[in-house]
């Protein structure tokens, strides 16, 4: 019998290769690499930031990709879990650059992890946009490829101090904060601003980020006679602090906690959440007229529809890193890193997120110099706990509830 198998197999292979679409062309895709704290104490805020970035990616791909000159590039993410650990960030960003060949990078969440990732990205000359690292020191090291999309830590509590000063010019303030780079930077600047505002600093003390028993430090706050509290850290300790301040009836007139109260999850604290203010990079009620991209209202509605979670400022900052990169690529007409970098340096825009502009001073290259914070407070609205914008006065949606007690 004649051997018919070999020609049949060859014919099958030929027909199959003609029918298949063939491998995707690498030049059709931009790879953006990042780590996400899928596990560890930074999980809540990091995943919220990722939600924003993924929402942006899905939107841009649905529209056909990013336009760069006469080409369109789809966006592909490569993400790894950094477990909220700096050592993992170092390994993973090296992998993203060397093995995964990421064209651009988004930073991890938190100032500590951002500082670590920045060492790697600068070493390899990779553009990295930061949506979750506010400590200014990272941007004062002569970096060239790092771009901070959010307000720096120095200004986080400025709104809280100004809002408090308008109601109590002689407030006695307790600064109690997590011993991490971000919170320390926030309070170092805020303490100076508080003194300039005429406040008395009744207590200024840090705690280990892993602290769960705040009763000794709350007793110190009570003993100090403070009537206002400013501080906290990230979600786990901030939420725990809010609950224990309530349980121990610290009876403060004003409470401003970093980060945690901006998460929709914070409402699960119930009465412990009521009256707590949070400095925020963005709130759904802001009224910015964007030069491009969605309006604040459009972003809030579409983000909720896409993610099924009320967007907080971490989600917004995840989205803005993508939007600003997209804008820079479109302005550059290319994905060439030097051209994109030049376009980012020229960025001076208003979006749903507010004004964004990067410093081009070599001593602080890439630091955000345009964006400003707002202050939100948890208040009862129609029997439900909701976040209202209470500062600045020009943009507020409700009056600050003061004093709380």
């Amino acid at each position: 019998m004649r051997n018919v198998w070999l020609p049949a197999v060859c014919a099958s292979v030929v027909f199959a290769s003609l029918a298949s679409p063939g491998p995707a062309r690498a030049e059709d895709t931009i790879t953006i690499g990042m780590t996400v704290s899928q596990t560890g104490p930074l999980n809540v805020d990091s995943v919220a930031q990722l939600r924003g970035s993924e929402f942006w990616r899905d939107e841009v791909n649905a529209a056909g990709g990013i336009k760069a000159g006469d080409k369109r590039y789809k966006v592909r993410f490569v993400t790894y879990d950094d477990q909220s650990v700096g050592g993992r960030v170092q390994q993973l960003y090296t992998r993203l650059i060397v093995q995964d060949k990421a064209n651009f990078l988004f930073g991890p969440y938190s100032s500590g992890l951002t500082a670590t990732a920045a060492v790697i990205s600068e070493q390899y000359g990779k553009i990295m946009l930061i949506g979750g690292g506010a400590e200014p020191k990272t941007y004062q090291l002569g970096n060239k490829y790092l771009f901070q999309c959010i307000t720096t830590a120095d200004y986080y509590l400025s709104g809280s101090i100004q809002a408090l000063k308008a109601r109590n010019p002689h407030a006695k303030v307790a600064f109690v904060y997590s011993d991490d780079p971000f919170s320390k930077a926030v309070v170092a600047a805020a303490a100076k601003q508080a003194q300039e505002a005429g406040f008395t600093i009744a207590l200024q003390e840090s705690y280990a980020p892993s602290t769960t028993d705040f009763s000794p430090i709350i007793n110190k706050i009570i003993s100090s006679g403070a009537d206002a509290f400013l501080g906290g850290g990230h979600y786990p300790d901030g939420a725990t602090l809010a609950r224990q301040l309530y349980d121990q009836k610290a009876n403060l007139k004003f409470v401003s906690i970093l980060v945690a109260p901006d998460s929709p999850k914070f409402a699960s604290l119930g009465p412990a959440a009521l009256g707590v203010t949070v400095p925020s990079q963005w709130e759904p009620e802001v009224k910015f007229n964007p030069d491009f991209g969605p309006t604040p209202e459009e972003f809030a509605k579409k983000a909720y529809a896409a993610t099924k979670v009320e967007p907080d400022y971490h989600t917004a900052s995840g989205y803005i890193t993508g939007l600003l990169l997209q804008h820079a690529i479109e302005q550059a007409g290319s994905i060439d890193p030097e051209k994109v970098k030049a376009a980012l340096d020229k960025t001076d825009v208003t979006t749903f997120f507010g004004h964004d502009k990067f410093s081009t001073d070599p001593k602080s290259h890439g630091m955000q110099v345009g964006h400003a914070m707002v202050l939100a407070q948890w208040q009862m609205k129609s029997g439900k706990l909701e976040r209202e914008m209470v500062w600045p006065d020009a943009a507020k949606t409700a009056a600050l509830n003061y004093p709380l007690h």
């Binding site: 899928q38 596990t39 560890g40 104490p41 999980n43 809540v44 477990q83 909220s84 011993d179 003390e205 840090s206 705690y207 280990a208 892993s210 602290t211 769960t212 028993d213 009763s215 000794p216 430090i217 007793n219 110190k220 009570i222 003993s223 979600y235 786990p236 939420a239 725990t240 224990q244 349980d247 121990q248 009836k249």
Partner: protein
């Protein structure tokens, strides 16, 4: 200060678990932290699944912990009895790693919380949370029950006899292997129920056990290895120290003070500050 005493009592209860196992079988149980976390998740899951009050979940957690302790004995400890101490350390450490690995795979490292709300007690400007008071009261009840068991029941006397002299206990017909398993069950049950109580006070993750295990070791050394009563008193004393120290120094320094005390006691009083062991009491 009073708040420190309340929380310190719970730490003392956690330490009683380690010291009981050590006192009876000369084994340092490095699964202690994992068992504390197991108690935390036990109460969290029971409350979530059945809607029962958190304090109602303590009894099932205690019972489950007892049987887990017996299982631990047969899996990791039975063959290490009489071996060099490093062997039992390694065996229990391995089980600890397995448990933490499994826990991380299932729950990740996110924060969990058991919502408990009780009215507090206000004294002047200060309020002591109701949960802290309840935890201290329940600790006293459990410690009291343990005391009654050890000193008023045949099984308890057998535990003390084995702790005092295992060979002599065997000679008089005490089934020592069963008593060792029982003691391990009791020790782990105490770890689990202390974890359940801690869960009503503070949030926790799968990795929370290490910090409490470390505190348990400090308390155990202060109170005397093998001395459950000493462990409880030392836990209260440590809480008192934390309460006394924090008004005068940054809160982060209390850990430094605790470990300095730990080292001083190890050097100056190797048997612990209250070194009356189960073994001596058994005579």
């Amino acid at each position: 200060m009073l708040d420190g005493v309340l929380v310190g009592a719970v730490y003392g209860l956690a330490a009683m678990g380690i010291t009981l196992i050590w006192g009876v079988m000369d084994v340092v149980n490095l699964t202690h932290g994992a068992m504390i976390v197991a108690g935390m998740f036990g109460v969290f899951l029971l409350v979530g699944a059945t809607g029962m009050p958190a304090y109602g979940a303590l009894a099932p957690v205690l019972v489950a912990g007892f049987f887990a302790g017996i299982a631990l004995y047969w899996i990791a400890i039975h063959r290490m009895i009489g071996q060099p101490p490093l062997m039992s350390l390694l065996a229990t450490f391995s089980v600890n790693l397995v448990l933490i690995g499994l826990g991380t795979a299932v729950w990740g490292t996110v924060l969990f919380n058991v919502q408990v709300s009780l009215p507090g007690l206000s004294l002047g400007r200060y309020t002591f949370p109701g949960t802290h008071i309840m935890a201290a009261v329940l600790t006293a009840v459990i410690a009291g029950a343990l005391y009654l068991f050890l000193y008023r029941t045949r099984a308890g006397k057998a535990v003390r006899a084995v702790a005092g002299n295992r060979e002599a206990a065997e000679l008089v017909g005490i089934p020592t292997t069963r008593i060792l398993a029982l003691s391990c069950g009791l020790g782990v049950a105490l770890a689990c129920v202390s974890g359940a109580l801690i869960a009503t006070l503070f949030p926790f993750t799968v990795l929370s056990g290490d910090a409490y295990q470390l505190k348990s070791f400090v308390v155990t050394v202060l109170g005397g290895m093998g001395n459950p009563t000493g462990a409880l008193i030392a836990g209260i004393a440590l809480g008192l120290l934390e309460g006394l120290a924090t008004p005068f120094m940054p809160v982060s320094w209390t850990l430094v003070i605790e470990f300095v005390l730990f080292v001083v006691v190890l050097i100056a009083f190797p048997g612990g500050l209250l070194s009356v062991r189960l073994r001596r009491r058994a005579r």
